[in-house]
Symmetry: D2
Subunit: 347 residues, 4 copies
């Protein structure tokens, strides 16, 4: 599975080919087709194919006969209108096919989204490579800094943070946990502690592969290593491998459902590892493919905020000059903090 | 909505444009792109876009890095294997976008399939054209002949036919109907009766459009016809139009779900009108797009037969030399007839 | 299809039966089970079955073993949290099965939602009843008043209204229409014009049924009316019937997808006729079934507002004391009006 | 996560409660509600809720007002007809909610099915228990015996087996593997080799949990173990755990999609571990819930066979007295063997 010379040659062969087509074509997507965007330590995202562009969304919304003679500015306005008012079906008319390589625990979150088509590399029938994810200490550090920034943005020095930490706590309630919550990546981890933790993770991952190979009793070409004993089936031997091992899949999804995926997985509440993939897809692929939709999605969904009836009431009262505080707001403490953050006000 | 000169020019403009792409391209599909396949009296199917080809199915099944160096013969064998053993996910990796024009009652059956993306022309916001479906008397005749042929193929002269008629009767049971079943297109319709029936259908459809226009009180450019009175909203005025009026939609679906649609709608049990569309899609579009898949689908799905445990038992006994008849078969009369038809034996 | 004495007896028989169950049960739903909620002139909604309640959502979110010992107050808080933060999967754990009777054009909008299970009465195999929808003049009047209210709420006397009219206009742009827009139910319709329009609609609907019966050549029990001629198949004869004829279907959907349906169809932008059904489902059924979810849905979705990055910027500036107007807002005129309406401010 | 006394009490409390309902109720399902069916070494399946029964399928197919007065025999005949002719929508009208506990690699195969609703226990927010799957040596033995039986049933002593092994080989082709195929559970594994393999799997799984706990640095109540250092976040620590660790999920699915799932996962080609779950669901739950559907599914789907156009041609020729062999059949060797097996003939 690592990208060796043979695979590199296959990719290059595809990139070199040029065909003539009457279909809608996006030059910026052609430029990145089949290329590998690196993510995490061994992962990647590759665009395998795409269908449609910004104009195809408009064309479908109009159920029109041709590409039309509308101006780009008009198309852009209509796309913004459609996205703002949740007319989602025209966005389903564009399609993207990706080749993903990601740790199993990331793939598990990813494939929970049910509106895509998937073909995954089969560890039942094929041998997995010795490639597993170990977080970069620098990432741990940046996550720590993010947390501290969030903590400062929150209402006080208390350990009840705004942001993903908060989500975690509520999830904690789900799990009926008591005691001190140690969710998220603890911000008090020292460099030495981080180094030791990652070293242990590396150790157990490596040992697991040793067991895997021993159970399989075969080398990379599928030949028996020890000719005097039987190996275990691949479907059973893989049971030994941890969820940080890499898997691969082809993933095909329409633009509407892709945006929904990104709104959840490129969000600050998503786990860092899947967010790393979502960020690449959103800002390096979608932005090239359908720039008008990308901008509208940023403005009306990704970076927008939803205000409840209670929050709207507070904003109206504030605009009318009333000095509203949490006690008088009718909102819970958490909702109040969320609203103040959205409004960019220190409580 | 009729294809006028303006629309023809738009279509031609799209057909004339040529772009360069690195994507998988199917020359036979390029040749028919945007063209209109006529169906029924005013309907059509047009290919707007496609993604993938036979080789893309194999590539996804292998989760491979490039197009691979496999031979066409090997790809074909794998496609047949995948289809035979219901490994359906690789077929989801191809996508087709069509522009359809069909009577409302056909669109109603069509859009019952929930795995496609749809943008339909809105009679709420837009004016419908004066185009409605009236069956061709020749079609009525050919349907009659089909029925008679089926009747002959059935076990006897009784009115309990094999095929769609049979389905209809059971559906009758659903509807708890009693009395003589007059399902399907009656084979005793004379030419004169057919002419009169179609004439009545034409009359009421035309009158309905008159009411529609009167309620709208606007001409084709949206201007008031009678300036002294208000028109009804389009969303209400359309309530007067019968279900044989034409509608249009963009329809995007993956190959696996398309094949499922075709297995039901290109089937002899499907209503003639939707079958007319399904036949065009199956034999004039899918056959061009993914020829290996098309052939495998014909062999293993469309023209294949499923044998129940009871039917398999009968076949085994017959092959062992036993003279099995319905009474000794353990099958119901209907299942027995179905089996005899599948085995090409006159009971 | 009309609810005659026989059907009434069937419904009463089901209502009279009482079974013992260990399943989650909602007494308020038991009280309305199988009952008919009237909608429009001949339509209805009936609850046929339900699965789960508010507590079942919490139980699934916790993946817990039993019903748990949590207090109602805690469950309510968690439901609000889940809905606010788009943790939608637990809401899929509740299911509702309805029996709907609605005009065909309403069913067409309804069944565009693809995440439900549907069994519709078949006009291909069964005879349709002489029941069609004609709007109540009072409804026309109330719609007119609604429109006028919206018009007053809008920024000026110009014909560019806030609300559904606005959506219509943009849809107009989709349809590339020019000239005066006569979308929505025109507010200048006089009583006499309304009476005449409805009378014409009634006339053409009645005539269509006459043609339908003539084509069928059968009475209600399925017997030939004119024994000397053949009738047309039901699947063809129904082509004569307008889209205001009533159809029926069983409709089964999970709570998450039901709320999504209601957020679109109980919205002021939805057509009046489907909104009439959505309102009944939301406030007379969902409110009884899962009261905590119903309230949260009202607060965080139905009656909430989404603020774009641009709109948030405006609110922040206004709260900081700046006198922002449309010109300085960076918003389009339409977005500005929408924001002012959300903030309850006359522009 | 293990079922301790507290959980047992919660389950018993639910089982003890009895409510009155007007809904369709299946006494045989009430009897097993909430109970635990053991699967594998630590797994289980529990029925949490159900909606509908055999009669509800018929009621939906008829779009009827009440439960109807049809006889059980008639309902049974209709269910068989619907299933035989792929009228699948009425089967969507029944719904089942299960609580599953299964190894992660089984859950990964399970959740590839996209038509169900899922809530999974979150290893991101919650601590996983020390429970992992190690195959029972007896299972390994029974799998071996199954294989040998299949080998004998196949055309010759060659290693090209009929059945799942064959599928595996073709999958091998997918993975472009060469050399000796070591798919499936090798039949030459000695008892001592099996013991050693399972011991290694146990060892690495246990060590992985040790690393997990060390990384977390917290005890079961969430308290720090070593107060002088920070623990890793749960979402990261879980990266160390192998895919044989147990997870849990609530899983809700309609009957049609459940049958589709079972047709693939209770099939002999499915991996033993997921088949163990599918068998329990099919024969201990579905058989109790909808017995007529269960029998029809066995007869027309699970134990039926699909004959391609080529296979049908062979059968017809054989019935006509021709002595057909593979060379004259027009079928590939593999298809010929498959057909002979279906017909119960030694080639």
């Amino acid at each position: 599975m690592p990208i060796d010379d043979h695979k590199r040659a296959e990719i290059e062969a595809q990139r070199a080919a040029a065909h003539e087509t009457r279909r809608v074509t996006v030059p910026a997507m052609e430029a990145i087709l089949y290329e590998r965007f690196d993510v995490l330590d061994h992962g990647f995202v590759r665009v395998i194919d795409y269908m449609g562009d910004d104009a195809a969304i408009v064309q479908a919304a109009r159920v029109s006969y041709g590409a039309g003679t509308r101006k780009v500015r008009e198309d852009r306005a209509l796309i913004r209108y459609l996205l703002r008012h949740r007319h989602t079906t025209p966005f389903e008319m564009c399609e993207l096919k990706l080749h993903i390589k990601a740790p199993i625990f990331v793939a598990r979150q990813w494939l929970r989204h049910r509106t895509a088509s998937v073909n995954e590399y089969s560890a039942r029938y094929s041998r997995l490579d010795r490639e597993f994810y170990v977080p970069d200490p620098a990432h741990l550090q940046s996550v720590r800094e993010e947390q501290i920034a969030r903590q400062r943005a929150s209402s006080s020095g208390m350990d009840d943070l705004f942001g993903w930490r908060e989500a975690a706590e509520t999830r904690e309630e789900l799990a009926a946990q008591s005691g001190t919550n140690k969710q998220g990546r603890d911000d008090s981890l020292t460099d030495e502690e981080a180094r030791q933790a990652l070293s242990r993770l590396d150790w157990v991952s490596t040992r697991a592969y040793g067991v895997y190979e021993n159970l399989l009793n075969e080398d990379e070409s599928g030949e028996k290593k020890d000719p005097d004993r039987a190996g275990l089936a691949r479907e059973l031997a893989r049971a030994a491998l941890p969820v940080n091992y890499y898997t691969q899949f082809y993933w095909k999804i329409d633009l509407h459902n892709l945006l929904h995926f990104l709104s959840l997985r490129a969000d600050a509440h998503a786990q860092y590892e899947i967010r790393a993939y979502a960020d690449v897809i959103l800002d390096r692929i979608v932005a090239q493919w359908v720039p008008a939709t990308h901008q509208a999605f940023r403005d009306y969904a990704m970076d927008a905020a939803s205000l409840s009836t209670g929050a709207l009431d507070v904003v109206r009262r504030m605009l009318a000059g009333e000095a509203v505080d949490q006690a008088k707001s009718g909102l819970s403490k958490r909702e109040w903090r969320e609203l103040m953050a959205v409004l960019g006000r220190e409580p």
